[in-house]
Amino acid sequence: MSAYQTFTSSRGTEPDAAALLANLRALDATVGVQHVPGPSYVLKKATAWTAPQMAAAQTVIDTAPASTPQLSAQAAVDSLPIFERAIILALIDQLNVIRAALPVPLGAITPAQAISAIRAKAGAL
């Protein structure tokens, strides 16, 4: 039986949705969040809420990083659609051909490294 619990936070910023969910699911892998901009958060999970769980969830809500363009961009990078990943990785493939043909060849950039670099760049802009 699912259990819902309403939380109120006095934080002055909106939390980054992805970070908030990730941090909450670190407490309980079945947690979901209902939230629209404002102080109220409704959390749902598979089992009844205990007092320690509620206290921990309240802390997560109050301290989750604020939403920023950089974090939002990183979340978008994490869920890139296939066609955008294809564009990026096709370019990386061509870049790897050039790197391999250099007088002193350079190692190939893996897809994971390429996406990670884009993610880091988004967070640093």
């Binding site: 992805a18 892998a29 079945t30 979901g32 969040v33 999970k45 659609p81 296939i82 066609f83």
Partner: protein, 278 residues
């Protein structure tokens, strides 16, 4: 009704009757009162609830003229028909409750021929919610008389009672618990169905192409498309699409590409729109 004091000629004295005489105003007042008694008449408020077949409103008859029928039930009511009128006779049904709904079924076999409704939208029940009204006119031009709905304003939006079976998926299951429903309401105006649907913390058991929601008991008149916001398995909120097929009875929610992910309490859908229903 206050009468103007205008000089009139009697038909037997050959001269004008002075303004304000008993002969002048009292007689006209009596005539007009008799006329007004049969026009714009407000019937006693109906308080019936539940299913009402062959409903006979108190005070209504073919000689009642055009009239207003207020309804003030303590619970919802569903009407399948009511006392036949005369051709052209109008009855304005008004919902005067604060929270209950009167539903009117189109051509329902629960009532006798000649008592039935012919609604504007026929695929579902036509609701009149608090603040709403429907103008029915009795029509015998096709032989058997029907109460034809000529004007309909639902009034307040309606949030149906939660039913988990309203929410399905093209494969596997879409579990939407009652606490997941942030908004699930509609308003019918004639044949245009307006709706608002918002759910969060829902679960998806498989990787379906579509998540589906029943269309509040109505049937789509044609293909309709619109935009939704969605979060697939806790992902970033992005745009998606919703659609209905001709004669469809569900709204289908789709991602712009790919299927929905399996999820436990992390899938959200938010949609507002309107469509033509039969």
């Amino acid at each position: 009704m206050e009468l103007p004091t205008v000089p009139v000629d009697t038909d037997d004295s050959g001269g004008p009757v002075p303004d304000g005489t008993v002969h002048n105003n009292a007689w006209l007042q009596d005539v007009i009162s008799k006329i007004m008694a049969g026009v714009n008449k407000r019937l006693p408020a109906s308080t019936v609830t539940g299913t009402q077949n062959n409903y006979a409103p108190t005070g209504f008859s073919t000689t009642a003229g055009d009239c207003t029928l207020p309804w003030n039930g303590a619970a919802d009511a569903t009407f399948t028909g009511f006392t036949p009128g005369i051709n052209g006779q109008c009855v304005l049904w008004k919902n005067e409750t604060s929270s209950k709904v009167a539903y009117f079924n189109d051509n329902d076999s629960g009532s006798l021929s000649g008592w039935k409704f012919s609604n504007i939208a026929k695929s579902g029940k036509t609701p009149i919610a608090p603040g709403g009204a429907g103008l029915f006119q009795y029509d015998t031009t096709s032989g058997t008389g029907v109460w034809r709905l000529c004007f309909h304003e639902q009034g307040a939006w309606i949030t149906p009672t939660y039913a988990g079976t309203d929410w399905t998926a093209s494969a596997g299951t879409w579990t939407v618990d009652s606490g997941d429903v942030i908004a699930n309401r509609y308003k019918l105006s004639g044949r245009t169905l307006h709706f608002e649907i918002a759910v969060a913390t829902t679960s998806v058991s498989s990787t379906p192409s579509d998540l589906k929601k029943l269309l509040f008991g109505f049937t789509s008149a044609g293909v309709a498309n619109g935009n939704v916001f969605l979060a697939d398995a806790g992902g970033t909120q992005v745009a998606g699409t919703m659609s209905t097929l001709t004669s469809g009875t569900t709204l289908q929610f789709e991602k712009l590409s790919g299927s929905w992910s399996t999820a436990t309490n992390t899938t959200a859908v938010s949609a507002q729109g309107f469509l033509d229903v039969t």
